[in-house]
């Protein structure tokens, strides 16, 4: 469906196929999903705008045994409405903490990811669960780990000709998973820290541990090397094991201090969160 509105051509594709054709025909078209970011930042009217929210494939949620696939144009409120039993807990908490109900009704999961900036609240929990994204580029459609998508797009953001189609989140059993967000609104610029963590045990030993921080720059921090320190450790964790882990985390954060955690308060918060999370494994 097309609508010429003054100088702006507005297109409303109903399927991915239609979207693909339109993107080829109008390579400079502005893709418009929820609009919560674009409506704030757009300075000039585009010549062509493609509205994404009627595309079936981008607005559906598919739940399989081992994963859930969420179309990039699914709103945050729709994801929350699936409930805590379906949505992985850290992601559920992140969406709840991200914005108020009115924004959740229009903001989309894809939009939150594609901002690729510190204001994205969902990147940290999605990286925690090893989410993957399906991306349409000029060379075709392919899957990419979200972490790699973030790393490759950190400087550029999503570029013309690319469309984020689907986010696939593995559904795994976790013994404990959590998310916190802290804002400092009085620093020179808004400073936000997101912490996400999850642990799985097997026969009272740590089988998998994940820890992700979201901040200003880099967008997200995750170290598999650090996570591996406690793999195989028996519960309850010894104080010296927690101390060692936190000491290694401190060293890691020190190396990132120039870019990451711009507000000094966040440095301590990241360590305290980690210590609290690891200690809570002993008490359940």
């Amino acid at each position: 469906m097309k609508n010429n509105a003054g100088d702006i051509k507005i297109l409303y594709p109903l399927s991915l196929k239609e979207l693909g054709n339109l993107c080829e025909e109008f390579p400079d078209a502005l893709l418009f999903a929820g609009g919560t970011q674009l409506m704030r930042t757009i300075k000039e009217d585009p010549r062509c705008l493609i509205s994404l929210n009627a595309i079936r494939e981008l607005t559906r949620i598919r739940r399989k045994e081992n994963y859930i696939e969420i179309g990039s144009c699914v709103t945050l409120s729709r994801i929350l409405s699936l409930g805590e039993n379906v949505v992985p807990i850290a992601l559920y908490k992140a969406i709840s903490a991200a914005v108020g109900p009115s924004i959740r009704n229009t903001a989309t999961i894809g939009g939150n990811i594609c901002t690729i900036s510190h204001i994205s609240d969902l990147i940290a929990p999605l990286v925690l669960y090893d989410a993957r994204v399906e991306l349409r580029t000029l060379s075709g459609i392919h899957w990419l780990p979200l972490l790699r998508f973030i790393q490759t797009h950190e400087k550029t953001g999503i570029v013309a000709g690319e469309t984020l189609l689907v986010i696939r989140i593995p559904l795994e059993e976790w013994d404990m998973q959590t998310f916190i967000k802290t804002d400092i609104i009085h620093s020179p610029k808004l400073s936000v820290l997101k912490c996400a963590a999850a642990v799985r045990t097997n026969k009272n030993s740590i089988n998998d541990l994940r820890l992700v921080f979201g901040g200003i720059s880099p967008i997200v921090l995750r170290s598999r090397e650090l996570e591996g320190i406690l793999i195989g450790d028996k519960l309850p964790l010894q104080k010296k094991s927690i101390d060692l882990f936190c000491s290694e985390l401190t060293k890691l954060l020190e190396t990132k201090k120039e870019d990451f955690l711009p507000h000094p308060y966040h440095f301590g918060t990241a360590i305290r969160f980690t210590r609290y999370f690891l200690s809570s494994l002993n008490t359940g």
């Binding site: 609508n3 010429n4 509105a5 003054g6 702006i8 507005i10 418009f32 609009g35 919560t36 409506m39 704030r40 757009i42 009217d45 705008l49 509205s51 929210n53 409120s77 709840s96 914005v99 108020g100 109900p101 009115s102 924004i103 009704n105 229009t106």
Partner: protein
């Protein structure tokens, strides 16, 4: 572009640039100034309206998304019986102040109680935490929402 949508129960047609916000259309084109403009960034929540029965920030809804939709502003909502209990509760709790955020708060209260008729204090606090209000005080607003819930429970004869 030509836009036709249902505004407060009436079919409304107008010409608008496609990216003009619903907020600007309401206030500047249609003179419905009950919907307030605080930040134009979706942060202050003073511009809330119901859009297809969902609470949204009208400053973030572009005109091209309006065709065929149903929009209810504070002017339309005050004509409903649901408004009566909210008004009663807000008056009882002395939520006056400058009044700038009140239209948004009223619509947010209705949205919350539609979704959760009997919320806890924590749920109300969390739900309304995105509001910026400098003069009426947050606790009274939370008290008022809980009072509305109580009034409606009594009205329905629930225990």
């Amino acid at each position: 572009m030509k836009i036709t949508f249902n505004l407060n129960g009436k079919e409304t047609t107008l010409d608008s640039p496609p990216l003009k916000s619903l907020l600007d259309i309401l206030r500047k084109d249609l003179g419905l100034t009950g919907t307030k403009c605080g930040c134009h960034k979706g942060e202050c929540n003073s511009c809330l309206v119901f859009y297809n029965e969902m609470l949204v920030n009208s400053c973030l809804v572009p005109a091209f998304r309006l065709n065929g939709t149903k929009v209810v502003t504070i002017e339309g909502f005050t004509q409903t019986k649901e408004y009566q209990t909210i008004e009663k509760a807000f008056l009882k709790m002395n939520i006056t102040g400058c009044g700038f955020c009140i239209p948004g708060l009223i619509l947010a209260t209705e949205a919350l109680l539609t979704d959760k008729p009997h919320p806890t204090r924590d749920e109300v606090t969390e739900n309304l935490s995105a509001f910026l209000c400098l003069c009426s005080g947050y606790q009274q607003v939370v008290d008022a929402v809980l009072y509305v819930s109580e009034l409606r429970r009594k009205k329905k004869g629930e225990k």
